[in-house]
């Protein structure tokens, strides 16, 4: 796999039975890449190991007063230099490719999983986990994947080098062959403590960042009411805690660095002491002594990989576990009737409340109890809050909606939440949703009275023409007011033009002036289609074909707004928000 071929056409079906299995699955999928990286790494390390050989030969050549020998040593070093340059570059390229392809694969799997889970994510703790895997864990998994082949190359090279030294200079070689494994493993016992301290530091740093960003996010409140000093003091304390934790962590790493200086140093002293004796006895040449000395000083290159793989493994294991857990999530709802191709239609009926929305009409629903209204909206949207076994699906034309394939059900009935999310992107992208194609974006925007939004977007437009369709809407539409966001979301739902459109409080943040016009626009655009609005504003209710009052969990009254206003006290109380007392005063005044 090459980087420029990414993304994968199909990221595959991961083995998510455990974190380790997931790592193995990733590894199996890039076996070729791992082998390539290993071989290039071997070339690099053997090249590095060849340098002291050249140095030794050169030293010996000048002792032997041989110009030819010196030139040959030079040629060897040049050859080794070429091997190092090629090996280093290519190992880096292949190892980095391994990490990028693994990271891309996991990100693709996550994107697919998130799209599949949809609304299920919001109800589980999983939402945070998916994001955590994507932002933190992928990198750690990638790090391990990248390190693996480099480590394998280094370990192989060390075995070859030690073996080579034993053959090249048996007496000194054995000393080195015994010493190197000690060097490789010496720092490992210190690592868990160092990483634990690093974790504490990261945690505290995270806390400080959270405090800082929280303070900034609420800064307008602070500047408006006061309390800056309180929050500054708090942040200073957190910041100093980070500093102390970081220094504590650095103490451990400094100790590790010291150990990594001292142990190879001791090995060198032994090599020098023993080697000098051997040289004196004539059992090794001076050149050979210099070669062995040089080889030991360069051993820290491959040795570094031991420390790195240990850390990468300990970091990536929990990450892989979490990634596997997230990727193993599935939707629990199952569609029993595979009514492929069949598009349901007709009246929308909720057996639980007895709410009926006849096909083709504009039905408004008024609920006295906020919780019941919330539950009703959830049920219409296919997000039942009750236990699955006691769940009764909403019927569309007599067909239980929740038993249809998800895509069919959602395309038949669109429920716009109380808190719809505007996805970031340009206005054009925002309104580019799967739709019937019968309602244009302009019509929908006009019906939802988005004129002022378009003006604001045109002013911020990146091109000179001031085309609002090309202006980016920031995440969740934060640059817009609450009312503007609601109207844009409404326009998006109108563009979709579903068979049945359910709107939950679509204009609660819109001012009364605009609301009246929005309601009229929606009514006009949805003429002949089924529309259900959960609302309590008289401006909206007045335009509905029928208004249903849901009281204590049941539909108890049906009629037009005016009829119900005149006939039903419960309705009046909910809609006009007047207490009995005030109503009484009104009556007295009008009398």
């Amino acid at each position: 796999m090459q980087i420029h071929h990414l993304p994968y056409a199909d990221p595959g079906a991961p083995d998510v039975r455990s974190g380790t299995r997931f790592l193995l699955w990733l590894g199996r999928n890039q076996l070729g890449g791992q082998v390539k990286s290993l071989l290039w790494g071997l070339l690099l390390h053997l090249g590095i190991a060849g340098l002291p050989l050249g140095v030794g030969l050169a030293v010996q050549a000048v002792i032997d007063r041989s110009g030819g020998g010196l030139a040959r040593a030079g040629a060897l070093i040049a050859l080794m230099g070429a091997a190092i340059a090629v090996g280093d570059t290519m190992m880096h390229r292949t190892a980095v490719t391994n990490w990028i392809t693994a990271a891309a694969r996991v990100q693709q799997l996550l994107a697919r999983k998130a799209a599949e889970l949809g609304s299920v994510l919001n109800r589980r703790v999983a939402a945070g986990e998916v994001v955590a895997v994507s932002t933190g864990d992928v990198e750690k998994i990638g790090w391990f994947v990248e390190t693996l082949s480099r480590f394998a190359a280094a370990a192989t090279a060390l075995v070859v080098i030690c073996g080579g030294l034993v053959v090249y200079q048996p007496d000194l070689g054995v000393v080195v062959a015994v010493g190197v494994p000690v060097l490789a493993l010496a720092a490992l016992p210190l690592l868990p403590r160092a990483t634990r301290r690093a974790d504490v530091q990261r945690e505290k740093a995270g806390r400080a960042t959270e405090l800082a960003s929280d303070t900034v996010a609420g800064l307008r409140v602070l500047r408006g009411i006061g309390g800056e000093e309180l929050f500054l003091r708090r942040y200073r304390e957190a910041s100093q805690e980070v500093r102390e934790a970081a220094v504590r962590s650095a103490r451990m790493w400094a100790l590790i660095a010291a150990v990594q200086v001292m142990l190879p140093g001791l090995l060198l002293v032994v090599v020098v002491l023993y080697g000098a004796k051997l040289a004196l006895e004539g059992r090794v040449t001076v050149g050979e002594l210099v070669t062995v000395y040089g080889a030991v000083t360069l051993a820290h290159h491959p040795l570094r990989n031991f420390e790195e793989i240990a850390m990468a493994y300990s970091f990536s294991r929990p990450s892989a576990k979490r990634a596997a857990r997230v990727l193993a999530l599935t939707r629990t709802t199952t569609s029993t009737q595979a009514a492929a191709g069949e598009r349901p239609g007709g009246d929308l009926y909720d057996p639980v409340t007895g709410l009926l929305a006849p096909a083709g009409l504009f039905t408004a629903v008024v609920c006295g109890d906020p919780d019941a209204a919330g539950r009703l909206a959830d049920r219409l949207g296919g997000h039942p809050s009750e236990a699955p076994e006691s769940h009764v699906s909403v019927l569309l034309g007599g067909v239980p909606l929740d038993e249809l394939p998800l895509d069919t059900a959602r395309s038949a009935v669109l429920v716009q939440d109380k808190d719809p999310v505007l996805l970031s992107g340009t206005l054009r992208e925002l309104l580019d949703v799967p739709s019937s194609g019968k309602v244009t974006a302009d019509e929908a925007l006009a019906a939802a009275r988005c004129g002022d939004v378009l003006d604001a977007l045109a002013q911020a437009s990146p091109d000179d023409g001031g085309d609002p369709a090309l202006t980016r809407i920031t995440e969740r539409g934060r640059s817009l007011s609450g009312g503007q966001r609601q109207r844009l979301a409404l326009a998006r739902s109108l563009v979709t033009d579903p068979e049945v459109l359910v709107l939950d409080e679509p204009t609660s943040a819109v001012d009364s002036h605009t609301e009246a016009r929005v309601a009229a626009g929606v009514q006009r655009l949805r003429a002949g289609r089924t529309t259900v609005v959960l609302a309590s504003s008289p401006l909206l209710l007045d335009l509905a074909d029928r208004v249903v009052l849901v009281h204590e969990g049941r539909a108890v009254a049906v009629g037009t707004h005016r009829e119900l206003l005149a006939a039903d006290g419960r309705y009046r109380a909910v809609v006009t928000r007047e207490t009995e007392e005030e109503t009484l005063v009104d009556i007295e005044e009008s009398a």
């Binding site: 090459q2 994507s134 408006g224 309390g227 309180l230 500093r243 934060r478």
Partner: protein, 596 residues
Amino acid sequence: MTVVIGMAPPAHDPAAPESATTLPVGTAATVRAYVTGLLRRHRTAFAVLVAVNAVAVVASMVGPYLLGSLVDRLAEGARDLHLPVTVGAFLAALVVQTVFVRMVRLRGAMLGEEMLADLREDFLVRSVALPPGVLERAGTGDLLSRITTDIDRLANAMREAVPQLAVGVVWAGLLIGGLTVTAPPLALAVLVAAPVLVVGCRWYFRRAPSAYRSEAAGYAAVAAALAETVDAGRTVEAHRLGGRRIALSERRIKEWTAWERYTLFLRSVLFPVVNITHTTVLAAVLMIGGVFVLNGWMDVGQLTTGALLAQMLVDPVGVILRWYDELQVAQVSLARLVGVRDIEPESGDASVRPDGRDVRAREVRFGYRDGVDVLHGVSLDVPPGTRVALVGPSGAGKSTLGRLLAGIYAPRDGRITLGGAELSRMPAERVREHVALVNQEHHVFVGTLRDNLLLARAGAQDAELWAALAAVDADGWARALDDGLDTEVGSGGLALTPAQAQQVALARLVLADPHTLVLDEATSLLDPRAARHLERSLARVLEGRTVVAIAHRLHTAHDADVIAVVEDGRITESGSHAELVAADGAYAALWRSWHG
């Protein structure tokens, strides 16, 4: 593997700003001044770091020197090698090196951490002093990204790059010095190799920092797309956007990996250059030295020492290259942080004091951009204790007028006075003793419930806090909390419902006790069902205060003493509900359609 001869950077740059930066970015001069100040504050620690490092490096050169003299004696055929002395010196140097390497690491970290702590605390101090008008206009998004992303990027630079670069430069310098002292001709080897390195590095560092920035932004964009899909799960499902979200994620992956491929190309040029430099230095030392030894101008021991020192150059050069581009990336972040210092804090005139509580607007004109006014000569009198409702269509200027009355913006023309004193000339701390703006933003701070209330009145006793909660009907749920006022709330703590959050905000108002309130859509973002409960709490806060309400819904306007209809930046009608209904204007028409 494709062989890359040359490569242009990808066309799409994810690091390019999507929306204009709303706050200023520091100039080169301010950044330099800031860095100079920072270094001066820590100069002792810096000097100690350099000194400790020098000792460690010198100690590390003892080994090659001892081996060199050993080689000399062996080559001369000496029978006595003074081995005990050599080994003793070797061990002593090793102990010194070990101790000092540990100190270098530790001192470096301590210095880096102190500079970093200085920097981030300094930034927050500046941020919380920003004028409310700047915050209102710029929003907190830009500031937020500076305190998270930029501080994060600087963390690496301060913690590692600055000390490591200091270490690396001293290290390399001493090694080259050691080489020169050992045998001056060997220093030529460095001169032979240096040009390749310099040319290669210049090429690389001209491209690398911005490429890495784009690469990081591209990767962040991959995660951001996913986070949004997750966050908008319900919307994605309802609108059947799953396929599009997957396609978006994959497009982002393609954009990000294109940058990965480009930076990989940059390193594919840099790596061979660096490797070849090292080999060239080593080979040149051996060849030049070899010729000198063969001609009897140098000892074989000097050659040995020189070759070993040349080998050691790999490490400091690696350190310098590793951290240099980090420092360049950090410069951009630093400029963004220092930029906040460039905003003049509007200190106001502390001698301006209100005499009385009446709020008056006289012929007020105001616009956000030059030449485009949003308000065109608005006059409004709000006598103490009255309730004024501003009604009108979206975009008519109601909210803007409200912010002017709350002293957040200064009028371009005309005057807004509180008790005869001009609001815009008072410091923000003085204004808020008298006037508060209550809007949809009911931020719950991370921390205890107590902290969330104390900010409004520092030093308040628990009894006062409970009284404030009771005043807004919030003591019921608050008393039910296991830890009472000590309960951790906000992100990561107990999640309050939007209604509870708004009650906390109202309790803060009770504690802060300003005599005038400007209400802007305070309850509009709430579920209308929850809003009803909350309006009771709000009504109790409003008792006895002057209120300017930007009324969204007619029933809130209905009870006001004065209703002012704002249309197109002007007040077109004003009077009581009865008067306006009788006048049969815009308000009356709306009221009829509302009330049937």
